[in-house]
């Protein structure tokens, strides 16, 4: 593989997978943080 291809691979895969993992983690953490202060959630509206 050429250096350019390796750099592109790192940027694309790192950006996609890293971005996805970071956003998912922060979404779950923020919910846990909020739920700590508000008690259990009902599953029916």
């Amino acid at each position: 593989m050429t250096t350019g291809s390796i750099i592109t691979m790192i940027i694309v895969l790192g950006g996609l997978w890293g971005g996805f993992a970071w956003l998912l983690r922060s979404a779950i953490r923020s919910e846990e943080h909020r739920d700590k202060g508000s008690g259990p959630q009902s599953t029916t509206g």
């Binding site: 350019g4 691979m9 694309v12 971005g19 979404a27 919910e31 959630q41």
Partner: protein, 500 residues
């Protein structure tokens, strides 16, 4: 009578369900072939650009509409922009419903190939010609019917169990399973001798190719079809979202997660193809082989190629199980979309699911028996999704983009909020993309040798206009009934911007 509406128990549950909606056969089946056909690495640039310029804005809009109105598509459009526009939600629902009919057939094909892979049956296929004959015989001889029934039955059974015990639980299993299976297949592919040639093809960018407008239009089309933006599926799931929860961040997770899965699938398929052939030309021909109803790479070549690598039977079973999980997780979102609309019309859930199951099986029978019919439906309603996306953008503009951000998106408690720039994205860029894409696909069809106006051709403009026209006429005729059943008699509901 007020319906007791279930809600996803957690953000994780909603995100898994929404990822299941987005990640489907478009990621595992369509993406690797389209990626290869469109210059390899250069395709990544338009594909990623339109993730942010088409798919994510529409996902945000859908999520906002579902959470705000707590209604399926018909009720959501009627509530947001007025009762006389409820038919637009009906059109989006009609497009997704027609796709559901043949999508279940595809899910059945995946199931059948998974069973055949497990039993070792795929190893009896001697070459690509034999594999193609076997597929065509299966897909047109009636054998696809029981698998279509099984796939739709599985989907309906999951929906019958409800939002939490059905949709949420199934996706909490299917999506991690899909990710693990694709990772296993990708690691296997990347450790084959010669796999680096596949990586080189995937990530070498030919900058001059970016001057070709077709590359951009293919990138837009793939992003629109793969993320499920504009289908109304995320809108439907958002009806069951909890009040709290950041819909901008959730939409970003869904968009990036969908494209991450597509890359995993491409890493499982393309290095395997390139490792299997000594020359670039041979590998390229296989990677871009469309075959009958665009099934060539997945159902013709993958069974052959996986048999030739060590532990091939195991890895082909892994691949087809991943494909089945992807298909099923999207199919259940489609069944829920139709069920939700019937429930909004006053039907109880159990009965609505029964109606959807019966109609869904019957509606898929022609596609399960004829690849020409399947191709026609895929063409007409796949292109119809562009119109659906256009209707969503119209709804946003009509409602008012500043008002939309204030009422539907930038809600209290959001960690990410959208500024005025989002108005330009949703109000100008998305409609322009919709117009350009629709014109381009229509012009493309002029060159395919069939009279463009013939309403009974397989893939031309005439058959699209004919079938869309029927849907629009019927929906306009019943618009009043639809909106009254969904939103109550006129005068009892604000019909525009009100909270139901």
């Amino acid at each position: 009578m007020s319906e007791q509406r279930e809600q996803f128990t957690s953000r994780w549950g909603l995100i898994m369900a929404a990822l299941g909606m987005a990640v489907g056969t478009g990621n595992v089946w369509r993406f690797p072939r389209i990626f290869a056909t469109n210059e390899g690495g250069a395709f990544l640039i338009p594909w990623l650009f339109f993730l942010f310029a088409w798919s994510i804005p529409l996902l945000i809009l859908e999520m906002g509409m579902g959470k705000k109105t707590r209604k399926g598509l018909v009720g959501a459009f009627g509530t947001l922009i007025g009762r006389r526009h409820a038919w637009m939600g009906g059109f989006v629902a009609a497009v997704t419903t027609m796709i559901t009919f043949y999508y279940s057939v595809v899910a059945g094909w995946c199931l059948r190939y998974f069973f055949t892979a497990v039993s070792g049956g795929l190893s009896r296929l001697s070459d690509a010609d034999a594999a193609q004959q076997a597929f065509e015989h299966f897909a047109t001889s009636g054998w696809a019917l029981p698998f279509h029934l099984l796939a739709f039955g599985l989907g309906a059974w999951i929906i019958h169990r409800g939002v939490v015990r059905g949709i949420e639980k199934a996706n909490k299993i299917l999506i991690p399973l899909l990710a693990i299976l694709l990772m296993v297949a990708a690691v296997r592919a990347l450790t084959l001798p010669g796999a680096e040639r596949g990586l080189q093809f995937m990530f070498a960018i030919d900058w001059s190719a970016l001057g070709d407008y077709r590359l951009w239009l293919e990138g837009l089309t793939q992003s629109a079809w793969s993320t499920g933006a504009g289908w109304g599926l995320l809108l439907t799931y958002s009806v069951y979202a909890r009040e709290r929860g950041d819909l901008v961040r959730n939409s970003l997770v869904i968009g990036l997660g969908n494209n991450s899965m597509s890359m995993l699938a491409a890493l499982a398929v393309l290095p395997t193809v390139f490792a299997s052939f000594p020359t670039f030309e041979q590998a390229f021909e296989v990677a871009t082989y469309s075959g009958p109803a665009a099934t060539g790479l997945t159902f013709v070549w993958i069974p052959i190629l996986f048999q030739e690598i060590p532990f091939g039977t195991f890895f082909s079973a892994v691949f087809f199980l991943a494909l089945t999980a992807a298909a099923l997780s999207s199919l259940i979102a489609m069944i829920e979309l139709i069920t939700r609309i019937l429930m909004d019309l006053g039907m109880v859930r159990r009965r609505a699911i029964g109606v959807v199951f019966a109609a869904g099986f019957a509606g898929g029978v022609p596609s399960a028996l004829s690849l020409n019919f399947f191709s026609n439906q895929d063409w007409v309603w796949g292109l119809g999704l562009m119109v659906s996306g256009g209707f969503f953008a119209y709804a946003a503009i009509r409602y008012g983009l500043n008002r939309l951000r204030a009422d539907l998106i930038n809600l209290p408690g959001n960690e990410l909020t959208l500024g005025r720039w989002f108005n330009y994205l949703l109000g100008i860029l998305v409609p322009v993309e919709f117009g350009v894409m629709l014109v381009w696909w229509s012009v493309q069809s002029f060159s395919w040798g069939e009279a463009w106006w013939n309403p009974f051709a397989i893939t031309n403009l005439g058959t699209c206009l004919f079938q869309w026209g029927i849907a629009v006429v019927v929906l306009l005729a019943i618009n009043r009934w639809l909106s009254e059943r969904t939103l109550g008699p006129a005068g009892t509901h604000p019909g525009q911007g009100g909270t139901p």
